[in-house]
Symmetry: D2
Subunit: 314 residues, 4 copies
Amino acid sequence: MLLQHPWVELRELYAFSQVGKHASELYPALDCDMIYKSYNGETESDIYFLALPHGEALQLVPALLQAGKSVIDLSGDFRLKSVIEHEQFYQQTKSPEAVMTYGMPELFGNEIKSVKAISNPGCFATSIILGAAPLLLGSERSLKVQAINCTSTSGISGAGRSSKTELSFSEMSENVRAYKVGVHQHTPEIMQALGTSATTPSFDFTFTPMIGALVRGIYSILHIQLDKPADREEIKQLYRKFYRNAPFVRVCENMTEVKHVYRTNRCDIHIAHTGRSGSLVIVTAIDNLLKGAAGQAVQNMNIMLGIDETTGLS
Amino acid sequence: MLLQHPWVELRELYAFSQVGKHASELYPALDCDMIYKSYNGETESDIYFLALPHGEALQLVPALLQAGKSVIDLSGDFRLKSVIEHEQFYQQTKSPEAVMTYGMPELFGNEIKSVKAISNPGCFATSIILGAAPLLLGSERSLKVQAINCTSTSGISGAGRSSKTELSFSEMSENVRAYKVGVHQHTPEIMQALGTSATTPSFDFTFTPMIGALVRGIYSILHIQLDKPADREEIKQLYRKFYRNAPFVRVCENMTEVKHVYRTNRCDIHIAHTGRSGSLVIVTAIDNLLKGAAGQAVQNMNIMLGIDETTGLS
Amino acid sequence: MLLQHPWVELRELYAFSQVGKHASELYPALDCDMIYKSYNGETESDIYFLALPHGEALQLVPALLQAGKSVIDLSGDFRLKSVIEHEQFYQQTKSPEAVMTYGMPELFGNEIKSVKAISNPGCFATSIILGAAPLLLGSERSLKVQAINCTSTSGISGAGRSSKTELSFSEMSENVRAYKVGVHQHTPEIMQALGTSATTPSFDFTFTPMIGALVRGIYSILHIQLDKPADREEIKQLYRKFYRNAPFVRVCENMTEVKHVYRTNRCDIHIAHTGRSGSLVIVTAIDNLLKGAAGQAVQNMNIMLGIDETTGLS
Amino acid sequence: MLLQHPWVELRELYAFSQVGKHASELYPALDCDMIYKSYNGETESDIYFLALPHGEALQLVPALLQAGKSVIDLSGDFRLKSVIEHEQFYQQTKSPEAVMTYGMPELFGNEIKSVKAISNPGCFATSIILGAAPLLLGSERSLKVQAINCTSTSGISGAGRSSKTELSFSEMSENVRAYKVGVHQHTPEIMQALGTSATTPSFDFTFTPMIGALVRGIYSILHIQLDKPADREEIKQLYRKFYRNAPFVRVCENMTEVKHVYRTNRCDIHIAHTGRSGSLVIVTAIDNLLKGAAGQAVQNMNIMLGIDETTGLS
């Protein structure tokens, strides 16, 4: 994406284990002769994208910021304001200062414009926050969210370029598997972005992540309990209003599918059902590698640079 | 399955549109030279399996029962006691007498032993009922179910041998799609089997069915709200006790997967999470074509015949 | 592709059965509000892309050409110079004038520059012709091709947006199937483009097409019999020289894969093996919907327009 | 398969890296509480199945045979009579005595009956040998095979229970990849079984193995060059006669597919095409884990035991 972005010159690629290899050797689909280097503290570029194992960015970022560089970090290191929740969900301690602006443009676009450090949201978190935000953050909301039960199906690429047996084709073809039920590390950032916290939540939240037999995509089913029955059409208008300036969010008339957002930076949202007891079902779809990761990172960069947020993304 | 069953002689195959074709012509994987016939009211066999479009069995069954035949019907025609709910969910009227014993051996095994007509459960219904029954029907239960939010992923074979564009490989590979959110016709039979009803439910129930990029299997995530926090170990023991005589149900220590029940008549159940607010997550897996359809039908036949219920199924 | 092409304004979409529908209704992944119209002989646009059932373009094209329009036809109607072969492989008669320039830019780029009517190659044909052309058309070739035995695996999208049962997910997941062995209609255009003919071939050619469990892509294995043993390195240089000005063809050091050309207009070619008896194995990969169809059509349009042939394609 | 075989009592499971684990821990789909042990030279069982990395069986087998045990080895260690070819294709030396009866019942059934040591054929080899044998070994053959160009697509399970990145779902979904073109180690056993040798072949043989986006199955396309044109019906009769006593081989009227032999021990063969220049295309399908490995091993065991060769396999 950066290679084709009209305002970006890709200067360096850094790696740990793949140092010395050509980009096109690791990714033959890519026409790119750049060679992965070892990172030794260089600060020649203007913007640094970090996609490191959890904990590593905590070490590298301070020097980059001190050198006046812009940073977009794709790990969980700088997402949580609560060091207690960070420790609970990442099994790592960090200092209270290790927090960056949460890079979800549809919610925090104004803040993103004016900062030099962005913590890019998690993939599941993106699909769930965007599906619930209008109900919890919308200025005209009149319904109270009592509980959200969310089941999300992720493509297998969400686990990275892995060589684990349980992610092999033989294991995952014709399969579905839940994992980390109720304890996934995206839980606290979801609650934080929605204006509450995992520690003292203002509504019950239970999250079941799954991986399915697909490479890309996240499909989230939000079963939401409201304090009173809602009208489907009103909910739709609430969502449309909330996202009226969001170029990548579509509030769809028809059921959304992973296929509809494949290889796009979009988040499709469908108001699927309202029940007489106050139940509400919202379905969202994103491409986990784009709106759920690299695409959103570029969107954040665009906003930081003051250029059209869709540049290089359509 | 019937061809290999030691106590069954398969006498006739009937069909509508495929009359005159050999079984092995339609299903080359099968070594079977039988020819599909048109059904003209014959009553030479002892047991009749019906797998017809909804509404058709209502016409055929009375004559079979009058002739003293045993019937196992795989449609939804005879599942619901409430003619109102039947009309609401199937858009068809039926008489109040059009009800058969609900063929879920783990719940109604004693009744199945003594009847000649069985209504075989729906595939989604099987995976959900078995996942919730111990909490609602177990003799030693002490927790009250307040709500169940269920998301189920089905293999595409659940839609039958279809030629619909939306079920083509090109549409469904790398895809997931929800449908009939909150209004699926298996809803009332689930409520009925769990001792309540869709019309006047004793707990909130919202159900989101999905199809994923797999041929066989149903994977259900039950997000259950209890009246108070539960202990995971106690829930497990409650389930183990409830299913202690059920040869096809496994209450598993580890996360269950569709792959683990593929081409078996089993239902695997895993107690995945209990939360401090009374939330409980149950995960179940079945093969939709076996425990969710034909396998359960044979299991019912075995019980009706008074032979070991696992005969021909392992 | 045309929506994003910098030099194209998409004016109209025509259809048969889908008249009146929005493009985004049929293809929700697309952000396009255009409505499919019925074609009534309009000639307002400059260039017409035709993707019609075989035989239909034969009727429509003459009027378009007479009106001075440019035409790129994706059917087989205008590919073959031999009306006898056309009748044999398409079961249709046509007049000897119904021939257009064969739109394979790597072979016939000069001719494409100066014409107004292009017959876009078939998908299998593209992958096979590009894999064999340097041996048969290269100016410095010194080896004689005695036989080509080709096996090609196509993604299922090659069959169009189909609702056939045999292309359903349930049938094609975990499957591979050969069809039209030795009689596929791309045979004569392959022979014609390689400088010979299906009727009086200068080498034996046998072609087995297959569809596999993938949506997009064509992977062709060419088993070529030469008159004498060849050196792999020399073959590679022959290919590199032949394609030195072809921006979309890569002669790869390592084995090519469908994944490497996915969603690109490239053709990857790998010289896989040379045997002591004169055998040679060439492997090629394309995306059947791009280099095998729409991408090559746009490449042809670019050449016809005199602009860079990669415009809108990278 | 052994657990359900009526004449077998499974006594022990041995392993290297998985010692101490329950079978059902590694294979949750399996209801088997047996624990993998380390092998220390025990000889309590009657028959030993070996599925070891190449070279390991060469060490273990002599002691087992000396102890009077029957052995069925699934590696390549004992397949080749030529120690030169063994060294060339396996990069290992072995003694000329290290040869066992080649366990392909359709060709060597009589010999299998009377021996205690069987070398079970390779999966690709099985699908190719069965597809060509009637032409080369049939008593009534009148056509001379000049060349065989074979392309085989294998399911990914052929690579074992692997954790290699290139076999991950993310890499292999929507992909096809050739490998070891012209140099696969099954080449010499194919030639040997067909009555010739890789070193001094009586016909040209070139083999391109591929893996596709499926778990199980091998689909082989044999492009055969005969000395003169053949009649398709005569070829079919030649094949039918050759396999008239082979319960697992079907010579099919219609195109065979991987799906048709899925989870069976069958080999389906279809005579797909005969050309005027003497070309002949044969298509075969097997399940690589059954007829291509474990199923054929059980078939061999049955023959060695003197019981019906289909026991436990249908």
